[in-house]
Symmetry: C2
Subunit: 792 residues, 2 copies
């Protein structure tokens, strides 16, 4: 094969116009970073035209612009449906410039007109108070990927491509980002993409050689190693390298011609072949683009090399007390020959503007990148078909997540034709007992299969890989492009994606202020295999802190649910799958547990968020104590403690309150789900002791209720980082969340029972002694604990 | 080269004995999982011998045992100093069995004797209440890696190898773990390991083909792809594949001979070559071991294939109501021929036992894996040499982290000879203004270099890669093997390693209960580029929630410091670098800020944890209000608010309290640093309003102080998820943490000033209006805000 750098598929005229378009984008990028006035350089630059605070990232921008211009040619020549993911999201000025040039930007923001005054506002708003951020952000037309935190571009690209067979997702990956863990494993997404059913992802690894202050690993290994690495990841890499714009335009164009031919050939072969049900895993083409960091920018500043070094990363000229810098900026901007590119009114001249795609083919206007526009609501099954029969509270047992699995199977089935629902999990779907879904859809698998494999399928809609990062990234993008899903995960290990959760929550919060961003489906987490039932996994698998992490985010974005039993879990899951624009955190166990509410009661309870369980409470008169609980294991322990208390103190008056929707505890001013003070006081009284058994760290409850009237009477038990490999009941004992402790807590807090405290304490210690001896001897819980039945 | 599987380096006798040793380890592994009695199978197995709860992971264990036996041969034949990292830490029974067989286990736990009764206790303790966890854990001799959460083995291996030129770290990587992000990027650690100065890492990718319930990606790509991938990562892979034990022993032995020859050759060449200062990056050998999951276990159970499938992952036989299962277990255990291996007293027969290394050469007794044993304390510079001159509070400005950089440079210099201190950062050391360290040590870099590179060196002790996972993993292992370090990171992105922090905190907590684990140096985080100064990065870079995450962990392990100025930062950093067994979180800004305390005052203040700043307070009589602060930006705003208040209300009586050590706020019962109630009340009064300006989410302060007398009077301001690309002062305005708001908060809370509230509120709104107009117009803060000087 002749060297790609010798080929010249672009006619001289097209080359000239594409280069002009690129220069225009670069010009607008530099202008955004530097100028608050004089956008067309009508007069020589003076200090008065320069922004007082220079912020932004130049280094990656010319490369992003170069790629965008060339992808535009592919779109127009081949009528492609394509979106653009800029991994180096710091190159915000580039993507903003491109969407402005193609007209998408002005359609979303009419005040940023395609005129001289529009240009003025375009420049000024960038990195300006109340203007736009320097990264690609939710406000950037055509974006589904912020790139503030690096590592997630490629997982996002695949998530967008799933179930979008007509879509091509071009994904620029910075070589800095490529060093992150999330990105390093995301390459393997190609084993989970079916060329028949899914779209194509075109990774473009942009090696500009440097991060903030260091060279990058992938730019400094040998070309042979890089080639082997990418082939090892399963791709067919094509290198475009150099710094001469003319040669690079031709090489990039020739490469894109080849690459898009290959993509089409792969899809055609897979979709028209004899066996579309079991297509082969293709070696998808990808591009490695080696171009200088800060390409076309200042080559030297203050005698030091800048273009092609890490010094080009942010703002290469910054010291405008030095007149040389002002002169250099003026020269740099004029090197793009703006007069050639823009007419006197500041409009891009037609010979260049006509290169852009039109309408929805523009990458800034592609509806897939504004998922709410293409969202089709899920068809939902009837809750009652999946309800657990609960004749009386505590009379039945069920595994909550297994019940949910049946419900999710129906969700999957009812939406198979729409192809807009997937389940994500890090090799834990079966462990989390959701495997009923396999009855209607297997696990996606495009790598090799062997005879003994079960439930794997090229058509699978269950996505399993042992990477929480990938599950999260795929799902985020699947939602952002207008589809639905649920991520089930071991509770402790969801912290692996704490930071990704942050970024998605921030995206959602900002999106709420952008009128043209239509609501997308909520991101739903089901955390199970939770802290209280890590029997053999022990201490390393115990962490309920994701609740705390989520609760820190903006109240209009996050929801936290702790269903106490299977019917409540169904009700909550049903609600969450129908919801929009939220992040819903659901925590529920997978082990067999007692069931409390009928389906009808469960719906009413979950709708209220928190309520008195009348059937377990003394409803006449004021209670001596409120026994409150949130979470399935805490609910069991509270119910058992209530039984103990009624046994110990026959005339005790107890109220049981269960909290499903944790945010109901917060004041209404802090969260839309917050109970108003009167309703809160109706549940928790204003002066009675509240013994609160909580699934997570106890301080969370104090944090939520500290403004409530009765706060000082709240006595909370929860996880306190104790526990090891032990029995289920010993776990609650070790953390003082067990029924005996809760009963003792109540007795100690009820003034009229103070005389009984000493005897109760003694009984408590005797019981604990007996418990410890028993489990040390037998290796399992005492039968009465396992078989405990709550009864009024 | 002839196929490795045709070679036979082991004599028939050695082969027989090694196979016996392997069978013994497998037998002990199965025994731990299943038996509570009859450890030598003296009688046929009955239900009474079987544990009631069957927990543990068989699948990976025989492979781990196989590798261990073969590494033992290398150690004894070549007198190697080697440690063993078991990425599949779930294979706990295997590593426990091995350390028991070699005698390390009994030396640490004398009650687990090498006898029949010791065997009985060994079996029974496993996954038994108050026994040992099913994972490799801090209690496992020779371990520095738990493996509860997957992904960190290879980063740990490299961290252990740094600065240990004589050490070989063998690292078994499970093919499940290999799918995680952290592991996928950790392969690139070889660009940061200097063969002259550092030890060797031998990665052994154990492809047993399956995770919990799915095949693995790396086992199902083509052999060519896998080979290319590993070569692309920079390794020289050697494959050992099969299931016939005899052939596999010979192939593994032959391969290890080759691989260890190559390691020695690489080290010899690098260390004796002409240019030991700039050694070439070697292609280190590694091993791919393909063996069946659950190798040597039941081939079929209930008619379904088990060995070589995911069904072998945990407990392959579990239904002992079925007599077939009992029979199969009996057969399985007897297939190892225990009578041949153990004598009548339960001791491993000499012909096998003599294969193990002795003393510190045993991997379970290697001192490197009990870092406290080999720890050399840091030589520390004098704080006073680095102090910022602060003639009067607020009269000087400094960049706190730049000052710290000078201090760290001296730490680096003073310990260069000991080679036991490194600095870790994800491409942010310079951005975080710690670059003074480059004056004495560059950044480690073994990939290609070019002429314009700066501060890169094969001898560098600053570790920079754009992966927080790798920084954290390297540092953890560097500490666990007895060295010292500091990890500096942008505050928002430290959440990327939330989960790794959890695991390390848990490791430290458990280690405290293990007498033979000697204290290691603390894990120190310096978070800078913090939430309040993300000017151009904006919303995506704002998150102070790591504080909340850390505060959830056990009080005896975590410390959180918020030094208000450079001298306090020095004092805190000095303390943290000298400390042991903690995780210290330090948060400090990098921007120029006003300085408050002299070095002497700073040391006193930081030692107290929280104190009244007398020089800013009205010390006579009770204050009208306590103005409290924690964090550098909140301190500035509080000091400015105090100035405003003195201006508005000349006779106001104010007390200023600054908190450096956040845990001082907690009750003494909750944290060893907690102030006792009397001292707390002396600072915060029992009845005066406290206006508290906090660096992080405000609820954290409520959570810490909710048991304090004056809690109801605490009014906290902090980050509330507001902010975008804007000016520094506007960030505090958007979150209601600005001086004007704080002053208004105080006036509203002081009963005698209620008459002034209306006018103060009006003035507040006028000021805010002026502020917003100004920054919208000028793009930067009003001069009086930037130049504000605090004065009494």
């Amino acid at each position: 094969m002749p060297d790609i750098h010798q080929r010249a598929p672009l006619s001289p005229d097209l080359l000239r116009r594409m280069d002009g378009y690129w220069r225009a984008a670069n010009y607008l990028s530099v202008g955004q970073i530097y100028l608050k006035d004089n956008p067309l350089l009508d007069v020589p630059l003076t200090l008065a035209h320069i922004k007082p605070r220079l912020l932004g990232h130049w280094g990656t921008t010319p490369g992003l612009n170069f790629i965008y211009v060339h992808l535009n040619r592919m779109i127009t020549e081949r009528d492609l449906d394509m979106i653009y993911i800029a991994g180096p999201g710091h190159g915000g000025p580039g993507v903003v410039a491109q969407t402005y040039l193609e007209g998408s930007y002005t359609e979303r923001y009419p005040d940023i007109e395609r005129s001289r005054s529009g240009l003025h506002r375009l420049f000024r708003q960038f990195s300006w108070p109340y203007g736009i951020p320097s990264h690609v952000s939710p406000g950037t037309p055509g974006s589904i990927h912020e790139g503030g935190e690096l590592g997630y571009s490629l997982a996002h690209a695949y998530g967008a491509a799933f179930d979008n067979p007509g879509l091509i997702v071009s994904c620029v990956i910075g070589d800095g980002e490529a060093e992150t863990g999330a990105l390093a494993t995301s390459w393997h997404s190609n084993k989970f993409l079916n060329p028949v059913r899914d779209g194509a992802v075109l990774p473009i690894l942009h090696l500009n050689g440097f991060k903030i202050a260091n060279p990058t690993v992938l730019a400094r290994i040998t070309p042979d190693e890089l080639d082997a690495l990418l082939r090892g990841y399963g791709y067919d890499p094509h290198v475009v390298a150099g710094d001469d714009p003319t040669l690079m335009h031709q090489a990039m164009a020739a490469t894109l011609d080849i690459v898009f031919d290959k993509i089409r050939a792969i899809q055609t072969r897979a979709r028209t072949g004899s066996d579309t049900a079991t297509p082969e895993r293709p070696r998808w083409p990808m591009i490695v683009l080696r171009s200088p960091k800060g390409w076309t920018g200042p080559k030297f500043v203050d005698g030091k090399p800048v273009e092609g070094t890490w010094r080009a990363h942010q703002v290469p000229l910054a010291d405008f007390k030095n007149p040389d810098h002002l002169r250099q900026l003026d020269e740099w901007m004029r090197s793009y020959r703006p007069g050639e590119l823009f007419d006197a009114q500041g409009k891009l001249r037609d010979e260049y503007a006509s290169l852009a795609p039109t309408g929805h083919r523009r990458m800034g206007s592609n509806p897939h990148a504004n998922g709410g526009e293409v969202l089709v609501p899920l068809v939902m099954p009837h809750l009652s078909d999946h309800a657990v029969d609960v004749p009386t509270p505590g009379s039945a047992t069920a595994e909550a997540t297994r019940v949910l699995g049946g419900f999710l199977r129906e969700v999957m089935k009812l939406n198979l034709a729409a192809a807009n629902f997937r389940l994500f999990g890090p090799d834990e779907t079966a462990s989390n007992r959701l495997d009923a879904v396999y009855q209607v859809s297997g696990k996606e698998w495009m790598a090799a299969a062997i005879a003994t494999d079960t439930d794997l399928s090229a058509q699978g809609r269950v996505m399993e890989i042992l990477s929480e990062h990938m599950c999260e990234g795929w799902l985020e993008a699947y939602l952002l492009t207008g589809r639905h899903g649920l991520f089930s995960c071991y509770e402790a290990f969801i912290h692996i994606i704490d930071s990704m959760f942050n970024q998605h929550a921030k995206w959602l919060k900002v999106s709420r202020t952008i009128a043209w961003r239509k609501p997308i489906a909520s991101l739903n987490y089901l955390l199970t295999s939770h802290v209280w039932r890590q029997d053999h996994n022990g201490f390393s698998h115990q962490d309920p802190g994701f609740i705390d992490h989520v609760a820190n985010k903006k109240a209009d974005v996050v929801r936290i649910y702790l269903p106490p039993d299977a019917n409540c879990l169904l009700s909550v899951a049903d609600h969450c799958l129908r919801s929009r624009k939220y992040i819903n955190l659901i925590i529920a166990g997978k082990q067999p547990e007692f069931q409390w509410l009928t389906m009808e009661q469960a719906v009413r309870h979950c709708t209220a968020g928190a309520s008195i369980w009348d059937w377990a409470s003394d409803t006449a008169g004021e209670p001596d104590v409120v026994m409150a609980c949130a979470g399935d294991v805490p609910t069991l322990e509270i119910m058992a403690a209530v039984t103990l208390l009624r046994d110990y103190v026959p005339d005790i008056r107890i109220r049981v309150v269960n909290v499903v929707d944790l945010m109901a505890l917060q004041p209404q001013s802090a969260h839309p789900h917050g109970l108003d003070d009167r309703d809160f006081d109706d549940l928790f009284t204003t002066d009675r002791p509240v013994i609160f058994a909580f699934h997570g760290y106890p301080a969370m409850i104090h944090k939520l209720v500290y403004r409530r009237h009765n706060h000082d009477n709240f006595h909370v038990r929860g996880y306190q980082e104790e526990g090891t490999t032990t029995t289920p009941f010993d776990m609650v004992v070790l953390n003082n969340l067990d029924r005996y402790q809760l009963a003792l807590d109540a007795i100690m807090r009820i003034p009229r029972l103070h005389g009984a405290v000493e005897a109760a304490t003694a009984r408590y210690w005797t019981t604990m002694e007996r418990h410890r001896l028993y489990i040390g001897e037998h290796g399992e819980d005492m039968p009465e604990v396992r078989d405990w039945r709550w009864a009024r």
